[in-house]
């Protein structure tokens, strides 16, 4: 039995229960929508029995499927571009000195702090102005006109995704010792090789994290997308928002459940991989963290000391 001071036990209990509360808060709405995706009653509020008909209906619902495809496509492209641009930006800001660095940083921070709705209306104004002028200039017929749609959505998404990627990558760059890169260069690697062989692998978690965040933000964006979308570019949030005029259809719950399930599976898979890797690794190196867990490391250190002492005679 481990004795603990009552106050500390109370604090642990408080922290633990608050955390549980937060997760409950997060997941009750998700549980509701999962439940409703299996609800026979079309209008929510009553339980009309279990059914999977909404899932089969979903596959016949071209609008939702197309919207989901659009969302995914836009998110993938925007994320891909943003990862490259964002990583470059963060490298420039963190590893290079140049005039106007602060100003550059502030521009990068703009998408994070700019109110979404303002960005949305500003982009609507901007695109309607510039696309109109461009079309006049190019004198194109209506058939191949430049217009709002997936390209404009992607342009907008790339911008805020880039900013988020840059911020996340920057944070992992900052924990990376620059002497590591200098060492690589000292060993004869050119800047390019250094980046691919040393810098990128070290900041990979940051890059992946940034990509994940960017993907999520792009997938879920409603306000900005709403203002810059065009023909054939309806994304899932916009489609769902349109449906809210009546009551949300069970198919929407079904597709949300599917997305939720897929992302959970994906992330749980990643977690399993990570845990396997870390278990393998921990057989070699154990974390040197806190007192009670420390014993293995201490035991090894003891051995080392002994060896040292015994090695003398």
């Amino acid at each position: 039995m481990i004795r603990r001071r009552p106050s500390r036990r109370f604090a642990n209990l408080a922290i633990g229960s608050a955390s549980v509360l937060v997760y409950v808060f997060f997941y009750v709405p998700v549980a509701v929508l999962v439940l409703f995706s299996f609800n026979q009653a079309r209008t929510g509020g009553r339980w009309g029995g279990f059914t999977t008909e909404w899932y089969s209906a979903l596959f016949d619902n071209d609008r939702l499927i197309t919207a989901a495809q659009n969302s995914l496509l836009i998110a993938v492209v925007a994320t891909a571009v943003a990862v490259v641009l964002g990583t470059m930006l963060s490298l420039a800001i963190d590893r290079r000195t140049f005039r106007g660095r602060t100003a550059a940083q502030q521009v990068v921070y703009l998408p994070v702090i700019a109110p979404e709705i303002v960005t949305g209306v500003a982009l609507l104004a901007f695109f309607s102005l510039t696309l109109g002028r461009l079309n006049d200039l190019l004198g194109r017929g209506a058939q191949d006109a430049l217009r709002m749609g997936r390209p404009t959505i992607i342009i907008a998404h790339v911008a805020f995704c880039t900013a988020f990627v840059a911020l996340v990558v920057r944070s992992s760059l900052r924990t990376l010792d620059p002497s590591l890169e200098e060492a690589a260069q000292d060993l004869g690697a050119n800047a390019w090789t250094t980046f691919w062989r040393v810098t990128l692998p070290s900041i990979m978690p940051g890059v992946l994290g940034g990509a994940l965040l960017a993907f999520t933000l792009s997938l879920d964006n409603f306000v900005i997308t709403f203002f810059v979308s065009g023909p054939g570019a309806t994304t899932l949030p916009i489609e769902v928002f349109g449906q809210l005029r009546r009551t949300i259809s069970p198919e929407v719950n079904a597709i949300s459940t599917l997305i939720f399930g897929a992302s959970t599976l994906l992330l749980v898979g990643a977690l399993v991989v990570q845990s396997t890797v870390s278990r393998q690794r921990s057989q070699r190196i154990r974390p040197l963290s806190r007192q009670p867990r420390n014993r293995a490391a201490q035991a090894r250190a003891t051995q080392a000391t002994h060896t040292q002492l015994e090695g003398q005679p």
Partner: protein, 408 residues
């Protein structure tokens, strides 16, 4: 042998790469091309393995070869096959058409319809106003037609291409917003009034007092989230005209709305339908068709046009001035004015059809809802209905409404 396999492999790989590049380019640059580009992309990628070495011919020949097949059994409802495009972008109110109609049109005429939806007329206007919206056919409500035509955003309809226009109820033609139907033809129309749960009232309400009078059903009533409808209702309740623009009248109407603000569950144009069905809301200012939808879930729902009056509104087909394919749009309008198609649409929307050939085709179910929910549009009721007018001077509605927004 080995070499050739390698070569073949490499070729496949290169083609795949090219395909993917094409994919990326299509995605990044040509989201605006005429076909649904998701389909176009799929075709390109699919055709990759068997496509010959040249990349130029990857796109058209197959499609062209297939087109006549699709066209040959084409009915006369599809207009001139030579002028008909193969796809069209269509902007409609959300949840306002049976999607089967679009599939039928595609099957019958070989035109794929990409429908996008809007949730406000203003949204549709803004999209078209931005220029090169890509939409050949747009559906908006009455006053929006007037605004768009005054801005030169619309092109005149060629009635020669829309023979079915002759089917339209003369009552619904020649509206105030488009005299002579130069730019628009009616799609569906409905009214705005009150919907209520019959069981909650000993005597059915006949007036907006059911909402504006604090004592009745406080906490279970709802007003639309629409400045014109709410303020209009308040104005007529106070004895003014629905389209009144005087400051004094608006001051009074504002006070009334702000008072009832604490009583209504919300200003809500969407959720009240479900709430009526579930009993959470007992009386609501409502679109006519919405009362019908609520009735489907809760047969106790009734709809009235209050004695002070209500609005009539009509959604319309129109073709933007810069529509990429006006001809196909005309064909689609004509198609949707076919009796069977019109019936499909009206059965779905539970609105009123302006198409005189449609009523005989509507199901008993439809009439049951109309009769049961009290949605019949008699001449007596028609007299109480007004059209909402929208011009510069009506900006006072927005000013008054911003007070409502500011209040909470």
């Amino acid at each position: 042998m080995t070499t050739s396999t390698n070569k073949a492999n490499r070729a496949v790989w290169l083609r795949l790469l090219a395909g993917l590049t094409a994919f990326a380019i299509i995605v990044a640059a040509c989201g605006d091309d005429d076909d649904d580009s998701a389909d176009a992309t799929t075709t390109t990628v699919d055709s990759m393995p068997e496509a010959p070495t040249s990349e130029a011919d990857a796109e058209t020949p197959d499609a062209d070869a297939e087109m006549p097949d699709a066209e040959s059994p084409m009915s006369e409802r599809c207009g001139d096959p030579d002028r008909l495009g193969d796809s069209i972008n269509f902007l409609n109110w959300a949840d306002y058409i049976d999607e089967a109609v679009l599939e039928m049109f595609e099957e019958e005429c070989g035109v794929s319809v990409t429908m996008d939806t809007h949730v406000a007329n203003e949204e549709a206007i803004a999209k078209v106003d931005a220029g090169n919206s890509g939409y050949s056919l747009v559906i908006v409500t009455d006053y929006a037609v007037e605004i768009m035509s005054s801005q030169g955003l619309l092109q005149e309809l060629d009635m020669g291409e829309i023979p079915n226009a002759a089917n339209i109820d003369p009552n619904q033609m020649d509206p105030y917003y488009d005299p002579g139907n130069v730019y628009s033809l009616p799609y569906q129309y409905s009214t705005t009034g009150l919907a209520f749960d019959e069981t909650a009232f000993s005597t059915p309400p006949t007036s907006y007092s059911a909402i504006f009078d604090e004592n009745s059903h406080c906490g279970s009533s709802s007003l639309l989230e629409d400045q014109r409808e709410v303020l209009g209702a308040a104005l007529v309740y106070l004895g003014y005209d629905w389209n009144e623009v005087s400051q004094a009248a608006h001051d009074e109407a504002l006070d009334l709305v702000l008072e009832s603000r604490d009583c209504v569950t919300g200003f809500d144009s969407a959720n009240y339908i479900g709430n009526l069905a579930s009993g959470e809301v007992l009386v609501a200012q409502s679109w006519g068709f919405a009362a019908g939808i609520a009735y489907l879930d809760n047969p106790n729902i009734r709809y009235i046009i209050p004695e002070e009056g209500g609005t009539i509104w009509q959604d319309n087909f129109l073709i933007p001035a810069d529509a990429p394919d006006p001809y196909t749009a005309h064909v689609l309008i004509n198609y949707m004015l076919e009796p069977d198609i019109g019936a499909l649409i009206t059965e779905f929307t539970i609105g009123y059809t302006p198409n005189l050939t449609v009523p005989p085709l509507l199901s008993d179910g439809y009439y049951e809802v109309i009769a049961g929910a009290g949605l019949e549009l008699t001449d007596d009721i028609r007299e109480r209905l007004v059209w909402q007018v929208r011009s510069e001077e009506h900006s006072i509605f927005a000013e008054t409404w911003s007070e409502v927004i500011a209040a909470g």
